[in-house]
Symmetry: C2
Subunit: 117 residues, 2 copies
């Protein structure tokens, strides 16, 4: 593996990156094949519509989100989930402050570089 | 892709599989490259030590777990995370009822078949 996270990770000790505009991100476990991230959204903040080569699977831990995938919008709450195939456009508007657990395959090298988008 | 989950998933509507011995599992988003699952553990239940070819990244949503990875045991609570490289032995004992969000790459075809282990 070219990239590997630590084996055990303390949520309280790991860095939380402020991406601006009400969004914060903490990288969890990763290697070349997979990357998990915890993302906090303030009410009204937004993950702008974009697409990428990675497969993405996400879980709503808390809050309320209008999730747009390929132009279809659904309101998701705690316990709901969504899947984004490679190259499919997607975005989310946070309607009530909350947390998403996002996972990508393969790794998001841009996240490791600290890119803000 | 050979396998793909639905795009939007309602936690309340999706099947929860009883794996026995205090463990239940709900499949979330997946395709050939990735599979996300939500796993409920009752206090005292156990994910027995095992290993697999898949990379695994996990997030502790709630509860308390003694997580064993390659023989090293750490107690993890809500907000903590762990990463398991391919082929590395791992297991967990639930010390306080809770939920793990587990992600694997590539897909766990055994989970789709409904295997109980």
């Amino acid at each position: 593996m070219k990239f590997e996270s630590k084996i055990f990770m303390s949520g309280k000790e790991m860095e939380i990156e402020d991406l601006g505009q009400g969004v914060k991100r903490q990288l969890l476990g990763y290697n070349d094949e997979i990357l998990m991230a915890k993302v906090w959204f303030e009410e009204g903040s937004e993950g702008y519509v974009h697409s990428h080569v990675h497969s993405q699977s996400s879980y709503v831990e808390s809050g309320k989100f209008d999730v747009n995938i390929a132009g279809e919008i659904k309101t998701l709450v705690a316990g709901d989930a969504f899947y984004i195939p490679p190259h499919v456009s997607h975005g989310a508007v946070c309607k009530k402050a909350g947390v998403l657990i996002d996972v990508f395959s393969p790794i998001r090298e841009d996240f490791l570089r600290g890119d803000k988008k």
